[in-house]
């Protein structure tokens, strides 16, 4: 069998990704966009749709949208405009969403993702600007509405149906997330809803040229949930087809707790949004000069950074890729290298101990609080032979957790390695004398016994000896 996981089917996936922009104020008024405020405290007549109000475009939204488009190889629509998308829902106070249909700000781009078969382009159909809706809070007796999120600026990034597995979708989302973070366009926090993805998915038998009927799945709030929902939907569709059924074009809702998707509404129930040009906003003209000025603010992007790390720091492509997933992490890395001159060691700390600690705390690399100066000091202490790697690890954990000063900490706690060989010789001799059984074992051929003896010496020195040196000394004395 061929096809997706040997099912004989291949999978076609396109994504609609909503990214909340990290502007200080909303898209059409001056209300704050801060997340987590008490309900209906970040509202004004404009974002609550009072009679007679008018929108005023936040220029920062335009700038960030253009950045996102340029970084994803899109053509920027220099004469663009807004349209109204009309539908009734209580979280939408004007009963229309100001969005873009006819002339979206960005078109025809792509991003590159790494797949098992090498690099692949996922094409971007368009990126458009729009406003977010509010939030309904369903209680037992009533449904309440929080309008704080109304008017928070969004970019909707619509891909072409170029992905064919959950892995590719995740690689694409990771790439978008990293790019938006590099551009300082969005935090892309799925848990807070600042990044949301709707998955359009269809399957077809290998060799078929026509696309299958697609479904749209919504309501996933983590990358893991997206992967689960995709796997579920792929096998649901294959099962329906294998049973001789047909796929209904419908919108589906993913329940991550139950691990099950449900049909929400079929194509027949789809809204007619009656789009038309927004008459309250003048068309936007982006001059060549403005476009070039914005282009000039685009920093080195993840792909470029990764290539440079391989080239300049001789890191593996994998390590370089991991470090550049987050701009924040990459910046800590680069500053550390600048201070200590040891890229490999810096990469090991950040990708090893640091990632482990972040994962323990359930934090994203973007949330890492770590002073590069302190990491550089630890690396320099190791380099100078002042502390061994085990101690370095412990010191790093202290820096991570309590932001201590590594040099002072090592001194105060007496963690420097024993530099006096005479002292170490005496200790080794004492340990040999105190452990005749292990010595006998070693000498009778049980070479592993030396590990115990090294451990005893390290214990006696509270880990401050150089384990390699201790090992060598023991072998020398025991013959």
């Amino acid at each position: 069998m061929s096809g997706y996981k040997n099912t004989g089917y291949e999978v076609v996936i396109g994504l609609e990704v909503h990214v909340e922009l990290n502007t200080a104020t909303k898209i059409f008024c001056n209300c704050s966009t801060a997340f987590g405020a008490a309900p209906n405290t970040h509202v004004c007549p404009v974002c609550t749709g009072m009679p007679g109000v008018l929108p005023v475009m936040n220029r920062m939204v335009l700038e960030k949208a253009v950045k996102a488009g340029l970084a994803t190889n899109c053509t920027i629509t220099q004469q663009c405009k807004f349209d109204r998308k009309n539908y009734f829902y209580p979280d939408l106070p004007k009963a229309y969403q100001t969005s873009q249909l006819y002339l979206p700000i960005c078109r025809n781009g792509y991003v590159e993702i790494d797949t098992a078969d090498g690099t692949k382009q996922v094409r971007i159909h368009q990126i458009h600007m729009e406003e977010d809706a509010g939030k309904l809070i369903h209680g037992d007796a009533a449904t309440l509405i929080d309008y704080n999120r109304c008017g928070v600026p969004l970019l909707e990034i619509v891909s072409e149906p170029d992905m064919c597995s959950a892995e590719e979708v995740l690689a694409y989302l990771e790439k978008l997330k990293a790019t938006m973070e590099y551009l300082n366009v969005s935090d892309c926090k799925m848990q807070e809803g600042s990044m949301r993805a709707d998955v359009n998915l269809s399957v077809r038998r290998v060799g078929d040229t026509e696309l299958g009927t697609r479904t749209e799945t919504k309501n996933m709030n983590s990358f893991k949930a997206i992967a689960r929902a995709i796997e579920y939907e792929i096998f649901r569709q294959i099962e329906v087809l294998e049973d001789g059924g047909t796929i209904r074009q419908e919108t589906r809702r993913w329940d991550d707790n139950k691990g099950v998707g449900y049909a929400m509404r079929s194509k027949e129930d789809a809204h007619d949004y009656r789009y038309f040009p927004e008459p309250d906003l003048a068309p936007i003209n982006i001059s060549d000069e403005t476009l070039e000025a914005i282009r000039g603010t685009i920093p080195e992007l993840p792909d470029q950074k990764r290539a440079r790390y391989v080239e300049e720091y001789k890191l593996s492509a994998y390590d370089a890729g991991q470090l550049t997933r987050s701009r924040h992490l990459a910046e800590i890395f680069e500053q550390t290298v600048r201070l200590c001159g040891q890229p490999k060691e810096a990469a090991n700390f950040l990708l090893g101990d640091c990632m482990r600690l972040l994962n323990q705390d359930g934090k994203e690399p973007a949330e890492l609080r770590l002073a590069p100066e302190k990491l550089a000091e630890i690396i320099k202490l190791v380099q100078a032979g002042s502390i061994n790697k085990t101690t370095a690890k412990a010191v790093f954990e202290k820096v991570y957790a309590e932001d201590i000063d590594p040099v002072a900490y090592v001194k105060e706690n007496g963690l420097e390695m024993m530099s006096d060989d005479g002292e170490l010789d005496q200790l080794v001799a004492d340990i040999i004398a105190a452990n005749p059984k292990s010595v006998a074992d070693y000498q009778s051929g049980k070479k592993a016994a030396i590990g115990f003896l090294v451990g005893q010496v390290m214990k006696a020195t509270k880990g401050k000896a150089d384990a390699g040196k201790v090992n060598a000394k023991l072998r020398e004395l025991l013959g």
């Binding site: 007549p45 009072m50 009679p51 009734f88 209580p90 106070p93 906003l281």
Partner: protein
Amino acid sequence: MPGITATELKKQFAAGESSSVQSVAGYMAAIERYDNVYNCYTALNARAAEEAAEADRLRAAGCDAPLLGVPIAVKDNIVTTDMPTTAGSRILQGFMSPYEATVITRLRRAGAVILGKVNMDEFAMGSTTETSYSGATKNPWDADKVPGGSSGGSAAAVAADEAPLALGSDTGGSIRQPCAYCGLSGIKPTYGAVSRYGLLAYGSSLDQIGPIAHTVEDCALLLSVIAGYDEKDSTSTRDVAFDFSGSLHDDLRGRKIGLPVNYLGEGLDPQIRAAIMEACRKFAELGAEICEFEMPMIEYAVPAYYIIASAEASSNLSRYDGVKYGYHPESFGDLEDLYLTTRSEGFGLEVKRRIMLGAFALSSGYYDAYYQKALKVRALIRDAFNRAFAQYDAIISPVAPTTAPRLGDSLTDPLAMYLSDIYTVSVNLVGIPAVSLPCGFADDGMPIGMQLLGRDLSEPVLVNMAHAYQMHTDWHTKRPTLKEAE
């Protein structure tokens, strides 16, 4: 003080012959006396007397703000924080806005005293001020006739001397046509000259707030106060500051006025035609050159207008859904039923008709055939006007094909009512300014109006022509004989 203009009132205030307190009291007395006949006001400003006293104190202290102490009526689709704003609709009965329209802020800064809010067709949809939930407004020249619409309350209040000035709004003729029906002067400003922030939207790309008064001079005074760039309205024009001081003379030498002869044919009341021709002779006497020409595209203006205005309205009025403010039904089933019940009970017939018309025109499958085509027609009409304004400083035209119809007549035939907008809607589609002013009376004693259309931001030119005309005619000085309730 019957029949007094705002300009005369200002002179009296300055000379100490009258005060704002006296003036406001006089208008409140007139409202008390006549408004139960004409039904102009939907709400009165409870603090008007206090505000007048404050204006008098400021004047005594040397303040000379342009409208200091001058009373004014405000159309009920412009939001105020001290009186309800209902737009003549059941769906907004009792609605108090949490914010104030930019024009209201500008009026206050200029020292004006708002007398109250005045009646209108529901959401400005209508040509007669009969579709208001607050009941029909009557024409002060004949209480059996309509005052026009949708700014009928504004016009009737000035005509009945229940206010010297009023703010109206004009989406397809809603300032100019009531002025013609009531013997008044009014200006539909260039789109973008006056901020729409706080004007309840009907057709967003067409709506403009403008002045209604006895004279064009008064209109210019009020317009210079309300016009100007507003950062809260993205469609407002930068650097608009009208100066009419150079417009108030009667020398029209070198001015060219285009007369579109195809506007004067079938369907136009011959008495109105005669009045327009007579006005042309007067303009020629004052030095202007009258040039006859054919204005193309007029037959497409009404259909294009009703598609665009209704399409925008169908979206603009969607927010009245019973969830946040305004009318909320006593009982309803699910969410959909809340929407249905609120809007079925809250909106009147004409509003529902236009929402359905607009929603249909924007529907998938019909968008290109209706809305898109209407936009193309709009562009062609704009081209036609641009060509005309390459030749002429202004275009003279009738405002309406007839004088004010009898109450009730238009409600039975909406299509006839739509077609009566033929002379006014092009101005809104193109965005240009127009001045409406009285130019005669029909045999039945009802006023006849005309309008002068000009290029974008040519209000000073139009005011000059209209003011020159009023310096040499007395139509604008005529006053109706008012009736008191029996």
